[in-house]
């Protein structure tokens, strides 16, 4: 048995209303790459944050280098040599690359704690050279691509000579050649005796770099296996606990006439020459990596962030959509990804949220008819099965899944016929996911035209009639349901 550097025993983490981890055990050997897999919301990122002390476990113990430890905050774990590359960028946009990498542990003098800039820039450039990057120490963050920012994050972890490095979805925004470079770095670290926790839902990455793999599902520890003892199907089985095919029930629908057509839509720095056509009854899947420009296209169509050039046709007629009110009037709805910030207004009740886009329908002799509002809200929250004591309940007190439903109810009430979904199932558990899929599918069957942005390939492949693949702001491929294989779509999304 190899020596353990890190061991987690019986870790439980509760958030208000949600248990993110239940009695999870996890151990990490010296010099191994231990992959952590699971679907969105399985608890991988929570586990990573507990290991680094960003979060504290509700129950359970962490053993590090043989003795139990309590990390009150990341400072403690960093001081002991644990570095993490988080999914969400922890980047300081106002500081340069070198300062970003060494923030908190700059080389400095002992008396006045004055920073040794020469040393700082020298170390940084050396570090970036070992990563074979052409980023320079003094570059500004604003000009860097997602991949380059990721590299800065990796350099940050390397800069503290970490004994344990946690990489949370490090390859999700990297091209294939960039990923290969990353794997080379991982191998090199491993050879030096560094232990690595590698979180990814790109299965091929796992087989490429991992020694062992642990799967989490809905906060439970499903199993830990040596990588040569599992194959692809085993791994998927461990992650989802069922076969993938029947997860996404897209009903057969009759594809009707064209509802939305976008021609040569461009916006400087965001996307270029995007064209597509969306018909009633159709689900158009919009696949790509984070930062590929999909959300920006949807926001442009919805008038939130209008494009610089290009044409938008709604039911055959050309329209300019300079602001969301125009889009709503044309029957376009946008259900944003971040349900807490953009989709709903937390401090208002269910009724006010649902009627917000169509308030002018409820004006009676100059005043709002609250009773009619509540009747409408009642009708739609019933239709979507929103679980609440009444429509007067504030949205902030609802669970995540129910918040999402309110956000959807709002747009159904507005009688939109074209609905743009941005990552509709991100961060919700498997059960809620299935009901969202069912619901979207029913909408299509009712003749709605649906654009669905998703970063989950199985979801895209299971739900969409047609699939549009974007990479770095450009549409790189267009597949029908039967044409698109996982390999083809991924290759297109990653191609440079």
């Amino acid at each position: 048995m190899a020596e353990c550097i890190l061991e987690l025993k019986d870790i439980t983490k509760q958030f208000p209303g949600v248990t993110a981890l239940r009695n999870v055990d996890f151990d990490l050997h010296r010099g191994e790459v231990h992959a952590l897999v699971g679907e969105n919301g399985a608890g991988k990122s929570t586990l990573a944050k507990i290991i680094t002390g960003v979060l504290q476990p509700t129950e359970g113990t962490i053993y590090y280098e043989g003795s139990p430890v309590v990390w009150e905050n990341p400072r403690h774990s960093i001081a002991r040599g644990i570095a993490a590359i988080y999914q969400e960028p922890a980047i300081f946009p106002d500081l340069n690359v070198a300062e970003n990498i060494y923030m908190g542990h700059q080389p400095h003098g002992s008396v006045a704690r004055n920073i040794n800039w020469r040393q700082l820039y020298k170390n940084t450039n050396q570090l970036l050279e070992t990563l074979k990057s052409n980023i320079k120490a003094k570059d500004k963050i604003v000009g860097l691509s997602i991949a380059e920012r990721q590299l800065v994050e990796i350099a940050k972890a390397l800069s503290i000579n970490a004994k344990v490095v946690i990489m949370d979805e490090p390859t999700s925004a990297l091209s294939i050649s960039e990923s290969e470079e990353l794997f080379a770095i991982v191998e090199e670290l491993k050879a030096k005796g560094t232990s690595i926790i590698f979180i990814s839902h790109r299965i091929e990455d796992i087989f490429r770099v991992a020694d062992r793999v642990t799967a989490l599902r809905d906060g439970y520890h499903v199993g830990t296996k040596a990588i040569d003892q599992v194959n692809l199907n085993d791994l998927i089985q461990m992650m989802v606990g069922r076969t993938v095919q029947n997860l996404f029930p897209k009903l057969d629908t009759e594809i009707g006439e064209e509802n939305l057509r976008v021609e040569h839509l461009s916006k400087k720095g965001k996307f270029k020459d995007v064209s597509f056509c969306l018909r009633s009854g159709e689900i158009l899947g919009f696949y790509g990596l984070v930062g590929a420009g999909r959300t920006e296209v949807a926001k442009a169509v919805f008038g939130m962030d209008p494009a610089d050039s290009g044409k938008i046709f709604v039911r055959g007629q050309e329209h300019s959509i300079p602001h969301p009110q125009k889009a709503i009037d044309l029957g376009i709805a946008y259900v944003p990804e971040n349900k807490d910030e953009e989709g709903i207004i937390l401090n208002m009740d269910i009724t006010s949220n649902i009627t917000l886009p169509i308030l002018k329908d409820f004006i009676k002799t100059g005043l709002l008819d609250r009773a009619a509002e509540e009747a409408t809200a009642e009708q739609y929250s019933k239709k979507l099965d929103v679980k609440a004591s009444s429509v007067k309940q504030k949205v902030i007190s609802l669970s995540g899944g129910n918040k999402q439903k309110v956000s959807l109810a709002k747009w159904l009430a507005s009688r939109a016929r074209i609905i743009l979904f941005d990552e509709p199932t991100k961060g919700i558990d498997v059960g809620a996911k299935a009901s969202v899929h069912k619901f979207i599918s029913e909408l299509a069957a009712d003749g709605y035209a649906i654009l669905m942005i998703s970063s989950e390939l199985p979801e895209i492949m299971g739900m969409s009639d047609n699939i549009l693949v974007m990479h770095e702001g450009i549409v790189k491929g267009n597949f029908t349901r039967s044409e698109g294989s996982q390999e083809k779509i991924l290759a297109t999304a990653l191609a440079d």
């Binding site: 680094t52 960003v54 905050n73 990341p74 400072r75 774990s77 960093i78 001081a79 993490a84 988080y86 969400e88 960028p89 922890a90 980047i91 300081f92 946009p93 106002d94 500081l95 340069n96 300062e99 923030m103 908190g104 542990h105 700059q106 400095h108 006045a112 704690r113 004055n114 920073i115 800039w117 320079k136 003094k138 500004k140 604003v142 000009g143 691509s145 940050k156 400087k268 720095g269 965001k270 996307f271 270029k272 420009g293 770095e472 702001g473 450009i474």
Partner: protein
Amino acid sequence: MNDHEDAEGMRGMSNATSRSLFIRFAGLRELGIFIFLLVVVLIISIRSPVFLTLDNIHDIGLDAAILAIVAVGEMMVILTGGIDISVGSGIGLSGMIVALIIMNAWGIPPIVAVFMGTAIGGVLGMINGILVVKAKIPPIITTLGTMSIYRGATFIVNYTVNKGKWVAADRFAPAFRTFTRDTFFLVPNLILITVIIYIIFYYFLNHTVTGRKIYAVGSNPDGARFAGINVSKIMFLPYLLTGMLVGTGGVLWVSRYTSAQTDAAQGFEFMVITAVVIGGVKVTGGSGSIIGVLLGSVLIGVINNALNLVRVSPFWKLAINGFIILMAVIVDKYIQEGVNKRLLERRKI
């Protein structure tokens, strides 16, 4: 752009051919204010011959000095994404307390009085910092509250000790009365103190670990936490330092105007914030340079002096200050948008 980068950055830029001219100029925000300052000076000196006399320049320097001192503190608070609007009241209160102590003790050397102010101001700043960091009250509300409390306390202290009368010039030792104007190798003490403070804080903000952490916390508070920075401590520090600078400024204010009044420095916070914003400090935090803040303070000093010289009504002065602050923010916004756009264009999407 940070000062330490300016010197080295210029060298780096000359061989980085991809940098557009625009981005290069945007980095030289301080140069922009400096040119604007020169233009203002030129225009005023044509209209008013008194303006460029040695006496008047001396006056501008003394007027701008206390503003500049307090602006350093305000800058650090704004860098972390906060704001401190209690600085005017803080000057009034710390000045008043010290004045009441020294009015009957003429033996206290003026510089000791100044340090007493620093200590008292430090306590006031600490109160702000604790309310913001520990009680988690938004900075604007915290300092709105303490602004009133400190001003009220000034009245109460003054009423209790001195029956509500001003502490007038004749109650102070002669050495204290002339302290700010007295010179040390031809430089007035007030200017000297300001220069020393600027050297210390220039070094602190640009070349120490703690100084750079202030920038990091303002730039991305969550990221700072992930990087293992003690965010509460770094957020607290600027309020404490601002308090100390305010206390220092409060005593200097009493010496400069040779009286301690209950309404001293009322509305001063507005001038301080204006100087910081004109100096190019990002109002949402994370970026800004101390040189910019110094130039911003001088610019405000020059403009206020000039408006006095050409006898503009105080109401117009307020409006003009307001106009300047809005202009500065608008210009910064366009510069930033321009920079971002050009940097994105390099990615050729």
